[in-house]
């Protein structure tokens, strides 16, 4: 394993090499956004989320903090803050894991196999346990409403206009994105 100071760089690099759209704010490596597609064969298929990734000072010894920016209906995601209660991220993180694992494995697993017995969104958990069809229906409604490409773009604009104005810096991946206000 490489020295901790290089891990951010290596992990970011690997993430981009794996074709994830990474969007940085003023080239800072502590906090950035990654686009994430709902996994196939799940009710989340077709959804697109902007995931906020924060690398703590102690990364990779401490787990990255992961949050959904646009809404998602999921038993283990806090509907309000988008925080993820994901065991492997919050509890059993090991410095051996990296960001590619988070996006290739942990998050898809979370969306494919929600764990309603450890709910952060109790309503979603209860619905999933009682009525899987209704639950999936609700998930899809949310995807329709909140997880379209324009939602991802809109969220971005709402968040960081000020910062962008301050810096004429390149916004590596935003060029080709649809920038426009989402219609809520």
């Amino acid at each position: 394993m490489s020295s901790p100071s290089k891990r951010r760089e290596m992990d970011l690099m690997k993430l981009m090499l794996s074709d994830y759209k990474v969007e940085m704010i003023n080239d800072g490596m502590q906090e950035f956004y990654v686009e994430f597609h709902g996994p196939k064969e799940s009710p989340y298929q077709g959804g697109l989320w902007r995931i906020r990734v924060e690398l703590p000072d102690a990364y990779p010894y401490k787990s990255p903090s992961i949050g959904f920016v646009n809404k998602i209906y999921h038993p283990n995601v806090d509907e309000m803050s988008g925080s993820v209660c994901l065991d492997v991220i919050n509890q059993t993180w090991s410095p051996m894991f990296d960001l590619v694992n988070v996006f290739e494995v942990f998050l898809p697993q979370l969306l494919l196999y929600p764990n309603p017995s450890d709910p952060l969104n109790g309503e979603a958990a209860a619905l999933m346990m009682r009525d899987k069809t209704a639950y999936e229906q609700r998930v899809k409604e949310y995807c329709e409403k909140y997880a379209k490409p324009e939602d991802v773009g809109a969220a971005e604009e709402g968040k960081s206009t000020d910062e962008e104005e301050l810096s004429e810096d390149d916004y590596a991946s935003s060029d080709e994105e649809v920038v426009g206000k989402a219609d809520p």
Partner: protein, 1140 residues
């Protein structure tokens, strides 16, 4: 109030202890040593562990009337070098409980010898009954010992005989800990040599009796302890007045006589003999024929949450995989709350074996029991243990197993056992200590040792190591400060054990040496000659050359708390930075609080509120006026790099950390790494301590190995599924912050500038903004309080919401029989099924909640609190008036399961629209407020017992615990957990600093090899001492180059990005990412970064990373991530890019 599973506005602050201490998890020796220790313990007294008696308590009637009725026998031939006692002085006072502490006795009572000079205990008038623990003063220590141990300590009278450096350190630690009385005994007078190790004496004291000089200064440390002095020869009968006696300067013959008396006394008196000679030390403990240890390790009993139990012989018990079990084979456990196999709930301790991370075997035939259904908690039972100590005279001949401290010196203890006896003989034969540098004296000692060794029969040593004995002889007269600090900690802890039965005593001999601390070069023997200075003792061991280096050292001490105070004392006594060239800089941004005083011994209660570093530096200067110390109040971090600038760092010789958190340690580590300065690191946690040496190019740096991050309870657990009191307390703290700090602050933010505030909220337009606004509106509208009755009503309704409605909603959403998609029960371990509370004004716990909540609510609204609120009778009447609406569960979940339902639940309603409605309502409310109305946000302050903060947090946590049938805790325990109070005691702190200063000799000498340095992990509770060579830095090789973390690469002439990449290319390195601080300067994946190719690296750093380069600095440092020709990552050093 609407039920929510998630309290959304609050970012849960996990309860984390700021790690002040590093676990030795990388340390293979620890495991080994622990194993050896366990073996030793098993062989020494295991068979008796089941019969025990409580440690004796003795009433102290008769007090310490020491002189009376004692007829001193003619002193035995005493060739002790210290001058004979010329002043038959005794300080007397009665500490008869019937007289209490209220009367400062100034004549020692009528029975005292009228000729005796008396020094009365000072400042005792008006002190509270000593049995009442001053929990503000002792909170950090209480967190280690608990109340029961503290009470035992407060009832103990201790004798410390020999008031040179070691005696003073032991007495200091005991007085800080708060025993009932400490009697200081010394017949000799202060010598110049004492000033190398004794922090009490000054040059002016030379010639005065040591005990008399010590008494007033030690008394200052803690007025609740009776400190007295005794200056005449001790007769063994006098020892009856004490529960524990410590001798630091006693010949063997006398020691054997006293030990015999103590051992056979009824009840036995704990006897400790401790001796430090130069860089060698020894401790012997005899706590009597049958001594009961109540708590062998000080750890909380381990617990586990049961997942299943087999019907088998023996039975297999498995636990949930939430947390690893920490049981060990042979442990006894009890079961509770088991459903199904209820036979196990009988409270009977059962033995286990095959302890695994998530399961164990129970030695019981459960095949006939009921089948396990669910639930259950298994808890370790800690049993007392009885130790049978040997007499000193017997143990000398048959010492048994020595407690090892360093595996590279496994053959040392028997040798030192012999050496200390030989020295005793030398003293008797010659009437003086061997002279430092005298080969004749060394030879005499070696001869004595040889003769003694030849007589020992079977135990005869093959090699008596004359070289080591020579060093032993040379230094034997010297009491060194670091050794005194270290042994003061060890012995102080042993006394605490003797008085309380808490922690496992040292059984029975411990020997230690730090020979590696000696300078590497063989010194000219004349270098050891005394210079008639206060450092003569130290010079006799290290020579005057090293002494000068110490005095001229430029040292940075980071932190002036518990470790910092001890360090300042040590450095002052060692003469570090006491020369013309020397300078000690100490910095700490903290001010003194009451809870500091029980360890941070340079502070007194009149210093509370003053800056730690300033007070400590002044106190250190009074220990040694030559100390050149500057005290600063800056926190060390990136924001103070203008204070601690390049020039400051470059001038330093070494850095001593005295910090209490990992982040600051990591920062200082990075700075030391960058400026290539040695870093002496240490930390403590309760009875544990560790030290780590970071030496440029020799060792790895502090940050190279990391401790696992502390466990944090997952959010979902804290929100809805707590299963221990920590979860409840984490929740309570976050509720406290939300109700009393965050929301009032938001209210004020809104009222201060309504238009900006609402604009911001509209712009955010998300669920969080909406939630915040809802809370602000509640505060100003429905729940606004105008008088105390409103506050009480609010508190009562909070109770209903928290402990009834929310629980009702939760069990409505997830009924007890709910199952998950897989059919497994939803409410299975570790989740606990909650029950709502029914409020009752006759339940004091309920009223306590209402009282503390309404008082604090009133504070946020600036409403004064009438006294009747604190009267439960009257409060109950007021509470009964309040009308509490019935609860109706929120049925959203049901509604949407209806297929026809099309609307989304309220949670997913358009936030922006709601925000607009909320703002409109807020604007309405604002009009009804008196102009200038503001709320008062309350910040949690744990250390004020009268502010009701901890009352509310404990009440919140305990009511929640009651919901979930979790055992409740008292306010003190709640304070430890919720206040993140780090357990701390003076002994382990003192020991850590002593160990570090033994390393400082090596650092200042500067020529030691890796194998001469030592890192230590110690746990005084076990006791365990584990010292080992530091780990070397990782060496990275590439082509014909090799480097470590200590190296840096330099590129000059202000290169462009392209030039830098080319320069790396020439080394066979393909850089894909270059960063400065946390900013990317270049990443090959970003097309736009290619435009930066022709720019100067320094300009990119300035533009992108917004780096401001100080005018004097000629370079910027960048971190390069790169690959070699085979695409393997190569970890290259930091690159310094020079641009001017």
């Amino acid at each position: 109030m609407m039920f929510r599973l998630v309290k959304k506005t609050l970012v849960l602050a996990p309860i984390l202890l700021a790690i002040s201490f590093r676990y030795p998890f990388t340390h293979p020796y620890v495991v080994l040593l622990a194993l050896v220790l366990v073996l030793v313990l098993i062989t020494t007294g295991f068979g008796h562990s089941l019969h025990y008696m409580l440690p004796r308590k003795r009433n102290s009637e008769g007090g310490l009337l020491l002189q009376q009725d004692l007829h001193h026998p003619d002193p035995p031939d005493n060739d002790h070098p210290s001058p004979p006692s010329s002043l038959p002085l005794v300080s007397q006072h009665s500490n008869n409980p019937s007289q209490g502490y209220d009367v400062p006795v100034s004549g020692g009572g009528g029975s005292s010898n009228p000729t005796a000079a008396v020094s009365a205990p000072m400042g005792l008038a008006g002190e509270p009954n000593p049995v009442d623990i001053d929990e503000d003063l002792h909170s950090r220590q209480l967190a280690v010992y608990g109340r029961e141990t503290m009470r035992r300590l407060f009832a103990s009278n201790v004798l410390v005989s020999g008031m040179q450096g070691l005696g003073a350190e032991i007495a200091k630690n005991l007085i800080l800990a708060g025993v009932k009385s400490v009697t200081l005994h010394d017949e000799g007078v202060v010598e110049l040599w004492d000033l190398s190790s004794n922090f009490i004496f000054s040059e002016d004291d030379v010639g005065k009796n040591r005990a008399l000089v010590s008494k007033p200064k030690l008394q200052d440390l803690n007025n609740a302890v009776v400190v007295s002095s005794l200056t005449t020869k001790l007769a063994k009968e006098q020892l009856s007045n004490f529960q524990a006696v410590v001798f630091t300067d006693i010949d063997l013959e006398k020691a054997i006589e006293f030990d015999d008396f103590c051992h056979t006394h009824q009840p036995p008196i704990s006897f400790i003999k401790a001796e430090i000679r130069g860089l060698f030390g020894s401790v012997f403990c005899d706590f009597g024929p049958e001594f009961t240890v109540i708590d062998v390790d000080g750890e909380d009993p381990h617990t586990g949450i049961i997942a299943s139990i087999s019907n088998d012989n023996p039975a297999l018990v498995s636990c949930v995989d939430d947390e690893r079990l920490e049981f060990q084979d042979g442990d006894l456990v009890v079961f509770s709350e088991v459903h199904g196999m209820t036979e196990l709930n009988d409270g009977k301790p059962r033995r286990i074996k095959n302890a695994r991370p998530y399961s164990f075997i129970l030695e019981e035939d459960t095949s006939g029991y009921n089948t396990y259904e669910r639930g259950g908690i298994v808890t370790q039972v800690k049993l007392p243990k009885v130790l049978k100590f040997k007499l000193l005279k017997d143990a000398l001949k048959d010492p048994g197993d020595f407690l090892l401290s360093d595996f590279s010196k496994f053959d040392r203890p028997p040798l030192l056992h012999l050496a200390f006896q030989a020295l005793d003989k030398f003293l008797r034969d010659f009437g003086r200590y061997p002279v430092a540098g005298s080969e004749n004296d060394a030879q005499s000692l070696i001869s004595i040792a040889t003769v003694m060794n030849d007589r020992t029969g079977d135990a005869k040593l093959e090699d008596i190591n004359p070289k080591l004995l020579r060093h032993f002889a040379f230094g034997s007269r010297a009491i060194l400060n670091p050794m005194a600090a270290m042994f003061g900690g060890i012995v102080g802890q042993e006394v605490v054990k003797a008085c309380s039965g808490k922690f496992h005593p040292l059984f029975q001999f411990f020997y230690f040496d730090s020979l590696e601390s000696l300078p590497t070069e063989i010194e000219d023997l004349s270098d050891f000659r005394p210079l008639n200075s206060r450092y003569d003792a130290q010079i006799s061991v290290f020579g005057s050359k090293l002494q000068r280096k110490l005095e001229d050292a430029r040292v940075f001490l980071v932190g002036s708390g518990a470790l910092g105070c001890e360090f300042l004392k040590n450095l002052a006594l060692m003469g570090v930075s006491c020369g013309h060239q020397g300078k000690l800089t100490v910095t700490d941004d903290d001010v003194i609080e009451k809870s500091n005083l029980s360890r941070q011994f340079l502070f007194r209660d009149w210093n509370i509120g003053q800056a730690k570093s300033t007070v400590a530096a002044l106190a250190a200067k009074s220990i040694n006026p030559h100390l050149n110390v500057e005290a600063l109040q800056n926190r060390v971090g990136p924001e103070t790099e203008n204070v601690f600038d390049d020039d400051f760092w470059e001038k330093l010789n070494s850095v001593v950390n005295a910090l209490d958190n990992v982040n600051a340690r990591l920062y200082v580590d990075q700075r030391c790494l960058y400026f290539q300065k040695p870093l002496l690191e240490s930390g403590t946690l309760g009875a544990k301590c560790n030290t780590q040496m970071v030496i440029p190019h020799l060792t790895e740096n502090y940050g190279a190995s990391r401790d696992p991050p502390e466990k944090q309870a997952p959010m979902c657990t804290v929100h809805s599924f707590p299963h221990n009191i920590d979860h409840c307390l984490t929740w309570a703290r976050s509720e406290f912050e939300g109700l009393l700090e965050k929301t009032p602050a938001e209210v004020n933010a809104y009222l201060s500038n309504p238009s900006d505030y609402t604009k911001l909220m509209i712009k955010a337009g998300d669920a969080q903004a909406r939630d915040t606004l809802e809370h602000v509106l509640e505060c100003l509208d429905r729940e606004r309080c105008e008088n105390i009755e409103d506050c009480i009503a609010w508190a009562r309704l909070r109770f209903e919401d928290y402990f009834a409605n929310r629980v009702k909603q939760l069990i409505y959403t997830f009924p007890e029989n709910a199952t998950t998609s897989t059919g497994a029960p939803f409410w299975s371990a570790p989740k606990r099924f909650p029950h709502p509370l029914q409020f009752s004004a006759s339940d004091p716990a309920h009223l306590h909640f209402v009282m503390s909540a309404s008082i604090l609510r009133a504070e946020t609204f600036g409403i004064s609190v009438p006294d009747w609120v604190k009267d439960f009778g009257k409060l109950a009447l007021a509470v009964d008036e309040i009308i509490v609406p019935d609860f109706k569960p929120k049925k959203d979940v049901k509604i949407v399961t209806d297929e026809k339902a099309t609307s989304l639940s309220s949670a997913s309603v358009d936030d922006e629209a709601v925000i607009h409605v909320l703002i409109a309502r807020l604007e309405q409310c604002r009009k009804n407020l008196t102009p200038g109305f503001r709320m008062k946000p309350i910040q949690f302050e744990k250390d004020d017992d009268t502010n009701y903060h901890m009352d509310l947090i404990a009440a919140l946590a305990n009511m929640r615990a009651r919901n979930y049938s979790i055992p409740e805790v008292d306010k003190l325990k709640a304070k430890f957990i919720a206040g993140r109070i780090i357990p701390a005691i003076a002994t382990s702190t003192a020991m850590a600093t002593g160990l570090v200063c033994l390393e400082l000799y090596k650092v200042v000498d500067g020529r030691h090899r890796l194998e001469d340095y030592r890192n230590t992990f110690a746990n005084l509770a076990l006791p365990l001492f584990s010292m080992a060579e530091p780990v070397p830095p990782k060496v990275i090789k590439h082509r014909d180059m090799s480097w470590t973390v200590w190296d840096r690469w330099v590129i000059k002439n202000n290169p462009t990005l392209r030039e830098l990449l080319k320069w790396l290319q020439e080394k066979g390195l393909n850089a894909y990412s270059i960063s400065c601080g946390s900013c990317l300067l270049f990443n090959s994946m970003f097309p736009k970064h290619k435009e930066r190719m022709e720019k100067k690296v320094v300009d990119i750093a300035r533009e992108v990373a917004r780096l401001e380069v100080p005018h004097y600095r000629r370079h910027v440092d960048v971190v390069v991530a790169c690959e070699d020709e085979e695409d393997n990552d190569v970890d290259v050093p930091m690159v310094s890019v020079y641009f001017r």
